[in-house]
């Protein structure tokens, strides 16, 4: 079994209104040291797969097909073995 952590983030250059709002909220709570906040999705998947390469291939497919919208989002991931 594999554990895949997928991060979906807004493409660079797109206004991240949610990140901006969170940054303002942090600032008004006194966290003045915060310089930038960006918000994205964290998708945590447990899946079967014969080997790491196959898993990666499948995750790439999932990302492109469904998990991220390439017009506005990028995705990255990490793969770990799970016993």
């Amino acid at each position: 079994m594999w554990l895949v952590k997928i991060y979906v983030t807004l493409k660079k250059g797109l206004l991240d209104a949610q990140g901006k709002a969170t940054q303002n909220a942090l600032e008004s709570l006194g966290f003045k040291e915060v310089e930038e906040v960006r918000m994205g999705k964290y998708i945590h998947i447990k899946m079967k797969g014969q080997n790491q390469q196959m898993v990666i291939q499948r995750v790439e497919e999932m990302g492109k097909k469904l998990l991220a919208n390439p017009v506005i989002e990028d995705f990255t991931y990490e793969v770990e073995v799970l016993k």
């Binding site: 206004l15 209104a17 949610q18 998990l67 919208n69 017009v71 506005i72």
Partner: protein, 235 residues
């Protein structure tokens, strides 16, 4: 004349579209279940508003893979008339039938209110009976109506005359203040290059009777009906 209104799990304006067509405009209309894969015999297909699959993951992302969508894609390719309203618009962009994407409103809040729309293109079936530059009073109700497209994409939209409606002031002026959600270039509705597929965030089906505060939605419906009546081409 016969229309189809698709029912996805979580659609909630399906009923309102049906009502407008059936009760107000008195044309034949049927619901199309999202698992259906035969949509022949319709003069137009409506993708209604709502929260398909709860808007989970991303608006329109899951509904886009409903069985019915593969035939909607074929239907559109064959020149069939398609109108996606609100969530329907979001599904059409996810399905690649329309360019761009709909992002969270820049206020981060859902917004329900009347807006004014300027008709920028009256050369397509959906705005066929509108005057160019006409101002329509039509409500919006969405959390993700912030239309995004990159600069290159925008220039193509402009070049091909694909921007159909823009948010404007009551007097027709397109201003940043009239933009309710942050949409690029105040875009409220776009069509595909061929002009047979329209996606719009505002809800014309909610304003087809005077008692509801506006009946400007009639312009959209009448356009479609008149166009079909006059073109007599059956798909």
């Amino acid at each position: 004349m016969k229309f189809g209104v698709i029912q996805f799990p979580g659609s909630n304006c399906d009923y309102d579209c049906f009502y407008a067509l059936n009760d107000v405009f008195k044309v034949e209309v049927e619901y199309i279940w999202h698992k259906q894969t035969d949509i022949k015999g319709y003069d137009g297909i409506f993708l209604p508003g709502g929260f398909t699959y709860g808007d989970y993951l991303r608006v329109g992302a899951i509904a886009r893979f409903s069985p019915v969508m593969s035939v909607v894609i074929d239907y559109a390719a064959a020149g069939g008339l398609v109108l996606g309203i609100c969530n329907g618009f979001q599904i059409l962009t996810e399905a690649g039938l329309l360019p761009g994407a709909l992002m969270r409103n820049n206020s981060l809040h859902f917004i329900c209110k009347y807006t004014y729309l300027k008709v920028e293109n009256n050369q397509i079936p959906h705005t066929y009976s509108c005057k160019s530059g006409q101002v329509l009073k039509v409500p919006i109700a969405h959390g993700d109506g912030n239309y995004y497209i990159d600069e290159h994409g925008l220039s193509l939209l402009i070049k091909n005359n694909q921007i159909v409606l823009r948010y404007c002031e009551e007097n027709g002026e397109v201003t940043p203040k009239a933009n309710p959600n942050g949409a690029v270039d105040n875009i409220a509705a776009i069509c595909n290059k061929e002009g047979n597929v329209l996606g719009m965030m505002p809800h014309p089906e909610r304003c087809v009777e005077d008692c509801l505060g506006s009946s400007d939605g009639k312009y959209i419906f009448n356009s479609i009906l008149n166009f079909i009546k006059n073109s007599k081409v059956k798909l």
